[in-house]
């Protein structure tokens, strides 16, 4: 005759657990209404920074395009317009294909003039491949968004914490 107390105790325990969870805190987040907090080091859409006069900072040196492991960046260089004293060339077109990009941040590290950076902005959902290409206007429109914490600064912060 198998004992009845042991399974009965297991039953009571199981029902207790589900009853406890019935009243416990829920983990669902109501996404579109309450967006998740995004970590400061999250790397999202790119931006092109502007200089003090509101012009694009980029000098069309092709370092980011050369460095990009996913071949996501395409730059068309042109001679700088008249009156731009500080450089010889500027990007006539600057395109980042978000479907190719792996958001590694190498372009940001390669840039000698801090022109390109990644922001915290989550790329929007589109319905065509063309719409996923960020052109110069869209990149410049992102210029005022805060940049994602760079890998360098992130490591620095961790080291600082370790050293006290």
């Amino acid at each position: 005759m198998p004992s009845i107390t042991e399974p009965a105790a297991a039953l009571v325990k199981g029902f207790g657990i589900t009853l406890k969870h019935l009243f416990s805190r829920k983990f669902t987040s109501q996404y579109p209404e309450k967006p998740h907090p995004i970590a400061p080091k999250f790397r999202g859409e790119h931006k092109l920074n502007k200089d003090g006069e509101g012009r694009v900072k980029c000098v069309a040196c092709f370092l980011c395009e050369t460095n990009c492991p996913a071949y996501a960046i395409r730059i068309k260089s042109a001679p700088a317009p008249d009156g731009w004293q500080d450089r010889e060339r500027y990007p006539a077109e600057f395109e980042v294909d978000l479907l190719k990009c792996i958001f590694c941040g190498y372009c940001e590290e390669a840039c000698p003039v801090d022109a390109i950076a990644l922001t915290n902005k989550i790329p929007e959902v589109e319905t065509s491949r063309e719409a996923f290409i960020l052109n110069k206007e869209k990149l410049l429109a992102n210029a005022d968004l805060p940049a994602a914490t760079s890998a360098e600064k992130y490591l620095d912060d961790i080291l600082k914490k370790w050293k006290g």
Partner: protein, 346 residues
């Protein structure tokens, strides 16, 4: 039309409308409670707190394509969804869902048919529920459906025995087969404070009946006829649209009916302990007793749902051996003890 016929029709309409409109909200409650048990929120997009979700679900089922698969047994396939609805709706005829209400000078008993053989009627109709599931499985021309139907047959036949033996215990105690008199017999008090509900007189019988009720309704942990991981959807795999909706409706309607029966037989029906509902006037008496009945049924339904999201499914051999080697002997012993005590106490 004589007043008696009008009253009967009114009661039938009220019960059918009540049960069928309670089903969508039972499904909603199931989804909400399931979600809360799993630390989720559940449906909350359609209407305030997601309250219109069942309407959206129903509309979806209505607009789905009705598919007649190749090679089906047309007669059985089309008959099955209608057959499964018989058990939940017909059984509710014998359940007293309130004491009585006085409207326009007529005293109306809140029960469709006070049959002197109510319990026998229930057992007969409950046996019919097998046919819907078995025919649905057979007519679908699908091996998984057939296996689901066969499992349903074997399971329902096995668990009906233990359930019947529990009912015999109740019949011995109250000396009647009529459900309204079984409720009336539970209105007294035990030892001065405990209501004389059969759950206190027959705790073992109550437990066995509850387990059998889970099995009869194909609810977890006994949902082998439709075990999703093994049988796709069991007997209703090949059904679509409103025909699938009928199976779904019948499943939840029979949950309500079974809970109502459990309340009637074991939990004192519409009787509220310590309160004589006759004090509230002719109309309020009926309404309050119906509300008490509804609250008790809701509690039992919560237990059904709670169990579903707590216990995993039985293995098939365990299901059978549990029924025949465990529940049936226990029900027999329970019956024997009840009979002995009744005989000794005269």
């Amino acid at each position: 039309m004589t007043p008696e016929i009008a009253i009967s029709l009114g009661r039938i309409l009220a019960v059918i409308a009540g049960v069928l409109s309670a089903v969508p909200y039972l499904v909603f409650a199931e989804r909400k409670i399931c979600a809360y048990i799993q630390d989720r929120i559940g449906p909350n997009r359609v209407g305030p707190w997601g309250l219109f979700q069942p309407l959206a679900d129903g509309l979806k089922l209505l607009t789905k394509e009705e598919i007649l698969p190749n090679g089906i047994d047309r007669f059985a396939y089309l008959l099955a969804p209608a057959l499964v609805m018989i058990h939940p709706l017909a059984t509710f005829a014998i359940i007293p869902f309130g004491s009585s209400i006085t409207l326009f000078g007529q005293t109306i008993r809140l029960q469709i048919a006070d049959l002197p053989i109510g319990i026998l009627f229930f057992l007969g109709v409950a046996s019919l529920s097998v046919y819907g599931l078995a025919l649905g499985g057979w007519g679908s021309n699908n091996k998984y459906s057939l296996m689901g139907g066969l499992r349903a047959c074997a399971q329902l036949v096995s668990y009906e025995l233990s359930m019947g033996l529990c009912l015999v215990g109740i019949i011995l105690l109250s000396g009647t087969l009529s459900t309204s008199q079984i409720v009336a017999a539970q209105e007294e008090t035990l030892l001065g404070f405990l209501p004389a509900w059969n759950v206190f007189l027959q705790p073992a019988g109550f437990a066995i009946f509850l387990i059998c009720a889970f099995a009869e309704n194909n609810r977890l942990p006994f949902d082998l006829p439709e075990a999703e991981p093994e049988l796709v959807g069991g007997y209703h795999t090949e059904y679509t649209g409103l025909r699938f909706g009928t199976f779904f409706l019948a499943e939840y309607a029979s949950m309500i009916t079974m809970s109502a029966l459990l309340v009637t037989l074991y939990l004192g029906g519409h009787h509220l302990p310590g309160v004589t509902t006759r004090d509230f006037g002719p109309v309020m008496t009926g309404l309050i007793s119906t509300a008490v009945f509804g609250a008790k049924v809701a509690t039992v339904l919560f237990t059904f749902i709670w169990t579903r999201w707590t216990l995993p499914r039985f293995k098939y051999q365990n299901l059978m051996s549990f029924s025949w080697k465990c529940l049936l002997p226990a029900a027999l012993v329970n019956l024997l003890m009840t009979a002995t005590v009744i005989t000794l106490s005269g």
